[in-house]
């Protein structure tokens, strides 16, 4: 036991002595949490839309005004020809072109219907889909208006039926995407930091030669491992705390659930991540290799975590794969607890999985750490 304390003492001294690393360890996550949380949004807003109005009638202008009034769209200067508008899309100046045909108004009066051609930059297919929905919504409202007018003028007193869809947004009335992103990004940062540091740490001693010296001493495996990983475990919790404070103070993220539950889960989660870092450390010879392997897994874990893209949208086989992804469980957990106030009962499955993973990977890591070759 005392031995472990000596190792921990040395590790902390080394961490705090490396001023530039220390700065990085604290500044990088804080800075990123502050800045990136503002940017990570899937809102579709400020869509650049251009009209080619071949009719120039009051009705066509009404249509354009409907779009101008919408917060989703930013109507750019109009063009006289479709060709010019397409040039603009090529240049990236606009993302939607609405072509109003030359007899727009006349056809509406005579045939009771007409059509407009909407060209959408579909490189980002999902966004294009959403843009299409918004366009359709505005057109639908426009249609309802002209229908009402036409009814009025034709003396048709019939009030059209209308099914209203009233949405209500629980836990996040203002649809503030930051509420959603900040806890998630915090999870990513804590994970990245502890994984990188722990996977590099033991390899570093290998590279420098001090590991050999340690292996000759009577230190037991478990003493060495606990002593080495403990400081990073503490570090992870410290960064979590700083992150939670920032979330509350700067982003007003609700903290509905039990904060001890958050710390409890994170403690186990960190054991899992550190164990993984240790495992990587055991099987690599240089810091570069360790970093690379850690990087490889982190990127895949991040992309498949449900943070940036929903897990439900993945094919079934991919969804099954995410069951192996620790970040997925942590992201789910922290949202459930912070934003919905979920308690131990609801998060028990997540906690159980993380605990099992932690035991498995740490067992593997300790077993594969060989003091003797």
């Amino acid at each position: 036991m005392k031995t472990i304390l000596f190792i921990i003492q040395k590790e902390f001294k080394q961490i705090f002595r490396d001023k530039s690393m220390l700065q990085l360890i604290f500044i990088l996550p804080i800075l990123q949490l502050l800045i990136l949380s503002n940017a990570a949004t899937f809102d579709v807003k400020n869509i650049a839309i251009t009209f080619v109005d071949n009719d120039q009638s009051r009705e066509s202008r009404d249509l354009i005004n409907a779009f101008k009034a919408s917060t989703y769209f930013k109507v750019t200067a109009p063009y006289f020809s479709e060709k010019e508008a397409v040039e603009e899309m090529q240049k990236g100046k606009t993302d939607i072109i609405v072509n109003i045909p030359i007899h727009f108004n006349r056809d509406l009066q005579k045939d009771q219907k007409t059509s407009i051609l909407v060209s959408i930059n579909a490189i980002d297919a999902a966004t294009a889909g959403v843009e299409n929905v918004y366009v359709t919504q505005i057109i639908n409202t426009y249609n309802q208006n002209i229908q009402m007018q036409s009814n009025y003028f034709s003396g048709n007193k019939e009030i059209p039926q209308n099914i209203m869809v009233i949405p209500s947004f629980w836990y996040n009335k203002t649809l503030n995407y930051k509420t959603f992103m900040v806890p998630g990004i915090l999870v990513l940062l804590v994970t990245m930091l502890t994984l990188f540091l722990s996977s590099m740490n033991i390899v570093r001693e290998k590279e420098l030669g001090t590991l050999e010296q340690i292996n000759v001493t009577p230190i037991k495996k478990y003493q060495f491992i606990i002593g080495k990983l403990f400081p990073f475990w503490v570090l992870g919790l410290v960064i979590l705390t700083v992150g939670l404070v920032i979330s509350k103070v700067f982003f007003n993220v609700p903290m509905l659930g039990n904060i001890f539950l958050v710390y409890g889960f994170t403690s186990v989660y960190l054991l899992l991540i550190l164990g993984f870092g240790l495992y990587i450390s055991n099987h690599t010879e240089t810091q570069q290799q360790a970093m690379f392997i850690a990087w490889f897994f982190i990127v895949i874990f991040i992309l498949m975590s449900g943070l940036f893209t929903p897990i439900e949208s993945m094919p079934k086989w991919a969804q099954s794969l995410t069951l192996l992804n620790p970040i997925r469980y942590f992201v789910e957990f922290i949202r459930m607890v912070l934003l919905k106030g979920a308690g131990l009962k609801e998060v028990l499955p997540n906690l159980a999985v993380i605990l099992i993973f932690a035991i498995l990977i740490n067992g593997l890591a300790v077993w594969s750490y060989k003091k003797t070759n």
Partner: protein, 244 residues
């Protein structure tokens, strides 16, 4: 010199795939000796030593160090020996005091004992000026002496030194060997590898490894007589030429 065996090696072999680095060597080291383990680079001496200090498993054969078997009782071996590696292996980003505290603690010294040792070492090595400096900032010779002293913190019966004087100036080397003598006088067995043949003269007995086998084992005086030369350097050259 007592004739109690403190290291006993029988047919110790280490193979790496098809390559045999250590080919069934056998020898003994007696308590209190300064035993020189010589050989050219690549002769297998570091590999052999790694087996003796318990960080490499022998492919076959056995070795008994300080009364314990290196294969099955490696932990007990480690408790009884000290080790100074080629790279000095102290933490460059910790101070002298912090390094001593760490290694002392690892070997089970109490805080009081550690404090005593720190004071003692600083006094003996005259490190008062730099006691709170980072080890990385010390000149090579001081690092070397410090490494040696740290290896002896827990007063082990044997201390293994792997090429301890590489890159150090002759005066410092001389001072270092004086430290070795002092320890040997106190009863500590010294097992030292080196390829400085003049240092071989300082040892009680010397073994010379060539291509994985021990080709000579005796006191320097006897070896010089045997090969009819005046220096250990020439002994070595003759041995090397014979093999070729």
């Amino acid at each position: 010199m007592e004739r109690e065996k403190i290291i006993s090696v029988k047919n110790l072999t280490k193979e790496f795939g098809h390559f045999t680095a250590v080919k069934g060597i056998s020898f003994d080291v007696y308590k209190g000796e300064i035993f020189g383990f010589l050989g050219a680079n690549g002769a297998g001496k570091t590999t052999a030593m790694k087996m003796l200090i318990g960080i490499s498993n022998p492919t076959s054969g056995e070795a008994n160090v300080a009364g314990f078997d290196v294969h099955s009782q490696a932990d007990m071996v480690k408790k009884s020996i000290g080790y100074m590696s080629q790279k000095f292996s102290m933490y460059d980003d910790l101070t002298i005091k912090e390094n001593i505290t760490f290694f002392g603690g690892i070997y089970g010294l109490s805080r009081i004992q550690i404090r005593q040792k720190i004071a003692q070492l600083i006094e003996e090595l005259e490190l008062q000026e730099v006691a709170n400096n980072l080890v990385g900032s010390l000149p090579l010779g001081w690092k070397q002496k410090l490494s040696f002293s740290v290896a002896l913190l827990h007063e082990p019966k044997i201390v293994f030194l792997d090429e301890p004087t590489g890159g150090v100036d002759p005066i410092t080397r001389r001072q270092f060997w004086e430290m070795i003598y002092t320890q040997a006088y106190k009863g500590t067995t010294i097992f030292v590898t080196t390829h400085y043949m003049d240092e071989a003269e300082y040892c009680d007995r010397v073994s010379i490894m060539v291509d994985g086998s021990i080709e000579a084992l005796d006191t320097p005086k006897n070896l010089k007589q045997q090969f009819k030369v005046d220096s250990m350097n020439d002994v070595f050259l003759k041995l090397a030429r014979n093999i070729e």
